[in-house]
């Protein structure tokens, strides 16, 4: 039989595939081959089985399906010959994985091969087990591997060591069996075995504290000695890489030392000397040496505190930064970023070198450097650092500018010592790279300018100058035009001139010029042009002499194809022509924009309608300032048919709640969208859907269990708020949802007053059901009014023990919640003990909104899962 006739050789197949000119052609060849292989498999062709599998592996690498070859691997592994076994194992590792059940079948073959007399077959089996062994296989074969750790041939020992890593990762329980064999590997002389042995120890430490303790006690000294021998050893050619003895082993050793020294003062003490020696003596002119140094620095950073060593380590990183090799600079920046948390002083000393890296030719290094610089800036160095960065901005690549400007703006915003400096720096950034900055940047600049009432004139004049210089930077133009619209009069009459300012003469005509040029420029987008249009309207009132000219400009746009511009032009034209009497009050200056709100919005947390008390949005380019209407008032207005005007003592919180809960009530009477959008957020977060309100278990569970929700009069007894009477008047006896919520508010009298430096708040019963009672104690940290520390304590009122107790909580986006671990997960029966859990809540809308929280409590009673849910609305106000 001609061996080449029945199927093509692997070589020929590869050649055929390579000869394909198109992907379709390649698919054709592969399909033909696969068909032939499938046929051979179904004929149970033994002669070409391993060749077919070799082909399949190639096909697999090209990305074609090859699952039909899996059983062939098993057959090959079971066959006696070495070549068959070799290909079988290769295929096993590539085509199968630990998740396939087929793998179960191979366990026995591997077991036999692990006991094979031919050590290369043992090696193949170890390799396969180490690469794809499953947990079951690990359990079954662990004794064999353990035995092989003492095999006479070092090549098998090192493979067995790595195989053991797989085993202990899959089944951490087996770790203790490997502690002693691993420790004895550390006294090996063979470098390969040492490397793998050390690695095994590292991984043992990760999965077992017992192993960690053992190695710490028994092996630290030995390892330090080994490290010392290596560092001082004479030239050993076989493991030498560029003149350094076995860098891989040194790195592995350092890694193990690091694991041992972490959180252990004694062990750290033992290794301090050798770490210092490696850090100072290792040659740093080759990659291998630097790799060791790098690992050594990582070790120094992790072991117990030793100030001198850390400074040494950070200085090594500083040296790395001036290395010519990009890779070294790159890892140094990464490591410095970590080191910053350990010793920021020492890192600060290398500030200048780090700033140099911002100008690196390698973009990935530049990016890292900017990130690091960003972390290095503080109040004291912000001015020189910003100066450097802005200077560099001029020379930077366009694609890098987005990142860089974002960082500069964020630095300036965070650390600016005074507003005038902030405005100056932002103007520089916008003049230089105004087209690359993100929207938040210019939005926040406007917010800052409106807030600095003494700098309005200065800002508008500086902006005017800047636009003359850099009129092509769109965001700069936007800010300038916006300010000219607002403060145009100050531009012309130089009101509020600071002594550092140079005098500037601008006529009303010049000011309108600037706006008109930008308005008519085709390179600017709709946002900018809308801003211009509004500015023109405002200027028409501020500069009566230019009113006619402005009207002429606006008229030209009454036929604009851009709907927005056309509509505004028509509106503004009629304001100018026909509504002179209200014009000046229409275009009054914008109210001061609220910085806190802006920050909140920047974080994307709260939609404008809910958060802004002024009801005015900065980034609304196309609308004259609207009369400010607080959304809360809206809500109350909408429900005014039912609810009489209430005294303000009801407070935001109550109104919010009413707002939320009035939805079902008022939607019955056909309320419009506006109200809904106002309450969206709360609705979403608290998931009080309109149809749910009456039936929702969450609403009813808020009720203290001793209250029967049916009668409003009962409820009123519990209410202590001054707003209560009005509620009584307005609420029909049947509509309970609103009452439910109200009821939750003042329900419990203060239980205890928390002692502390901050203001004290009464504890509340946050949740109560038939079996559970949850109490919240509050504590404020002085000087941090936004944050509330809550101690939650759970008491089990039922007769049964509650196990697997889990408390979960969710809050709306304006709150941030941090849950500490609970004190336990088992609650004894009959109020006989409690679980406590600490919560930290940060309220970004402090003073405006009260806390609110949705909770979910899961536990097991008699092995039955129970889930209770509820909503906590009765937080004290002002938290």
């Amino acid at each position: 039989m001609n061996p080449f006739s029945s199927a093509t050789r692997l070589r020929d197949m590869i050649r055929a595939i390579r000869a394909c000119k198109t992907a379709a052609e390649e698919r054709g060849v592969v399909r033909k081959e696969c068909a032939a292989i499938r046929a051979a498999i179904s004929e149970n062709d033994q002669d070409y089985r391993h060749r077919n599998l070799a082909k399949l592996m190639f096909i697999h690498m090209l990305g074609y399906p090859t699952h039909f070859g899996q059983m062939e691997c098993l057959k090959l592994i079971a066959s006696p010959g070495f070549p068959e076994k070799r290909i079988g194992y290769l295929g096993l590792m590539l085509l199968l994985d630990e998740r396939q059940e087929v793998l179960m079948l191979v366990t026995n073959s591997i077991k036999q091969d692990l006991n094979h007399t031919n050590q290369y077959i043992v090696g193949l089996a170890l390799c396969a087990l180490g690469n794809i062994g499953s947990a079951e296989m690990a359990r079954d074969l662990a004794p064999e591997v353990e035995r092989l750790l003492k095999f006479r041939d070092p090549n098998i020992r090192k493979k067995a060591a790595l195989c053991s890593i797989r085993i202990i990762k899959k089944v951490p329980d087996l770790a203790e069996n490997f502690i002693n064999p691993a420790a004895s590997l550390l006294s090996e002389k063979h470098h390969g075995v040492l490397i793998t042995g050390v690695q095994l120890c590292v991984d043992l430490c990760k999965v077992s504290t017992e192993a960690l303790e053992h190695f710490r006690k028994k092996c630290t000294d030995g390892l330090v000695k080994l490290m010392r021998d290596l560092a001082n050893s004479p030239y050993a050619p076989e493991y030498d890489i560029s003149g350094i003895t076995d860098p891989f082993l040194q790195i592995r050793l350092l890694r193990l030392l690091r694991a041992l020294g972490q959180d252990d003062a004694d062990a750290s003490d033992t290794m301090n000397d050798i770490l210092a020696q490696v850090a100072t003596k290792t040659e740093s002119n080759k990659n291998a040496g630097n790799a060791i140094l790098y690992e050594c620095v990582a070790a120094i950073m992790s072991v117990e505190d030793n100030g001198g060593l850390r400074v040494l380590a950070i200085n090594i990183l500083g040296r790395f930064l001036s290395n010519r090799d990009n890779n070294i600079r790159y890892v140094a920046l990464n490591m410095l970023m970590k080191a910053l948390a350990v010793d920021s002083q020492a890192v600060q000393r290398h500030r200048t070198t780090i700033l140099e890296c911002v100008k690196d030719s390698d973009p990935s290094i530049r990016k890292r450097a900017v990130e690091l610089v960003y972390l290095l800036v503080n109040e004291t160095n912000v001015k020189p650092m910003t100066k450097e960065l802005i200077e560099y901005l001029e020379a930077s690549d366009p694609e890098f500018r987005g990142d860089l400007t974002a960082k500069i703006c964020s630095i300036v915003e965070k650390f600016s010592p005074e507003k005038i400096w902030y405005i100056d720096q932002m103007l520089k950034v916008l003049s230089e790279a105004g087209n690359d900055v993100k929207d938040e940047v210019w939005h926040s600049l406007i917010v800052v300018i409106t807030n600095a009432s003494n700098l309005h004139g200065y800002a508008v004049r500086s902006l005017y100058r800047a636009v003359q210089e850099a009129g092509e930077q769109e965001t700069l133009v936007r800010v300038a035009i916006w300010c000219i619209g607002e403060y145009g009069d100050m531009l012309v009459n130089s009101a509020g001139r600071l002594h550092i300012e140079e005098p500037l003469t601008v006529t009303e005509f010049d000011a309108v010029d600037v706006v008109e040029i930008s308005f008519k420029s085709h390179s600017f987008d709709l946002t900018t042009r809308s801003i211009c249009l509004i500015a023109l309207l405002k200027l028409s009132s501020r500069f009566p002499s230019c009113s006619q000219r402005i009207n002429d400009i606006i008229i030209q746009y009454k036929g604009s194809f851009v709907l927005e511009l056309q509509q505004r032009a028509i509106e503004f034209n009629s304001i100018i022509e026909r509504h002179q009497n209200i014009r000046s009050s229409l275009v009054e200056r914008m109210p001061v924009l609220d910085e806190a709100t802006h920050i909140g919005r920047k974080a994307g947390s709260v939609p404008a309608a809910v958060s802004t008390s002024q009801g005015v949005s900065v980034n609304l380019p196309n609308g004259a300032p609207r009369p400010s209407a607080a959304p809360l008032v809206d809500l109350l207005d909408l429900s005014s048919d039912d609810v009489p005007v209430r005294s303000s003592s009801g407070g935001d919180f109550l109104q919010d709640l009413l707002g939320v809960d009035l939805v079902p009530v008022s939607s019955q009477s056909g309320t419009n969208q506006a109200q809904k959008s106002g309450t969206d957020v709360l609705l979403d977060l608290l998931s009080i859907g309109t149809p749910l309100a009456n039936s929702s278990p969450s609403t009813t569970q808020v009720l203290p269990s001793n209250v029967d929700a049916k009668s409003p009069v009962d409820l009123l007894d519990k209410l202590s708020s001054p707003s209560a009477p009005s509620v009584q008047v307005c609420t029909p006896a049947g509509s309970s949802p609103m009452l439910d919520l109200l009821n939750g508010f003042p329900s419990s009298p203060p239980i205890s007053v928390t002692e502390g430096n901050g203001p004290a708040y009464p504890s509340i019963v946050a949740f109560e059901s038939n079996s559970l009672k949850l109490t919240f104690n509050f504590l404020k940290q002085p000087g941090n009014p936004q944050t509330t520390l809550i101690e939650a304590s759970f008491i089990n009122k039922s007769q049964e023990v509650l196990t697997d107790f889990i408390f979960q909580a969710a809050v709306p986006k304006f709150l941030q919640l941090h849950l500490d671990p609970a004190s336990g997960n088992m609650l004894p029966a009959n109020s006989n003990g409690s679980i406590t859990q600490k919560l930290k809540l940060t309220n970004s809308q402090h003073g405006k909104k009260s806390l609110v929280m949705r909770i979910r409590i899961a536990y097991k009673v008699n092995n039955k899962d129970v889930v209770e849910e509820g909503q906590i609305n009765n937080f004290p106000r002002d938290l």
């Binding site: 002669d47 076989e238 890489i241 860098p247 630097n290 990582a298 990464n334």
Partner: protein, 167 residues
């Protein structure tokens, strides 16, 4: 640990790929394509490390690559490995190939697919470094080839072995 080793040619064709953490076949192809897309966009004068690989590889995966002639050698690994040492390991791998194939080229890699795997398996096992001395690796690989040819010559059935084993 090392998560994957890839050898990709300049046109994006995989020449060798081995994953030490299980990935389904389609995912493997996706990863190779992703890595190639990242690498092909990088100029020569930049560092050999890539950290921001996006979400495809899971968090904290690092990539080290070296570009030799028409081939990219790529190692993917997690934070328990030293980046600079991985760079040296690529060097060890390539040096070993060089010794095996007497100045290796892409064709050697293509046509000696299974031998490539044998070499790699002597350097990395289960995602851990097994051996860093190319002489030692060579010795093991040669032993295996010897064993291969003697046993296959002995059993008359496998006439075709030398044809795909020898180059």
């Amino acid at each position: 640990m090392i998560k994957a080793v890839m050898v990709i040619n300049g046109l994006g064709k995989p020449r060798l790929s081995k994953f030490y953490e299980f990935q389904p076949a389609e995912k493997q192809q996706e990863l190779i394509r992703h890595v190639y897309a990242v690498l092909s966009g990088r100029p020569d004068n930049v560092s050999n490390f890539i950290r921001s690989l996006g979400t495809v590889f899971g968090p904290d995966t690092r990539l080290v690559y070296k570009h030799y002639a028409t081939l990219y050698f790529v190692f993917l690994f997690d934070n328990s490995e030293n980046e600079l040492a991985m760079l040296d390991l690529i060097q060890v791998f390539v040096e070993t190939l060089d010794k095996c194939f007497k100045s290796v080229c892409e064709l050697d890699v293509v046509f000696n697919y299974s031998k490539m795997h044998t070499i790699l398996d002597e350097i990395i096992l289960g995602g851990q470094v097994l051996e860093t001395d190319s002489v030692e690796v060579m010795r093991a690989v040669e032993e295996i080839s010897k064993l291969e040819s003697t046993t296959s010559a002995g059993t008359m059935i496998n006439k075709s072995i030398p044809s795909w084993w020898a180059r």
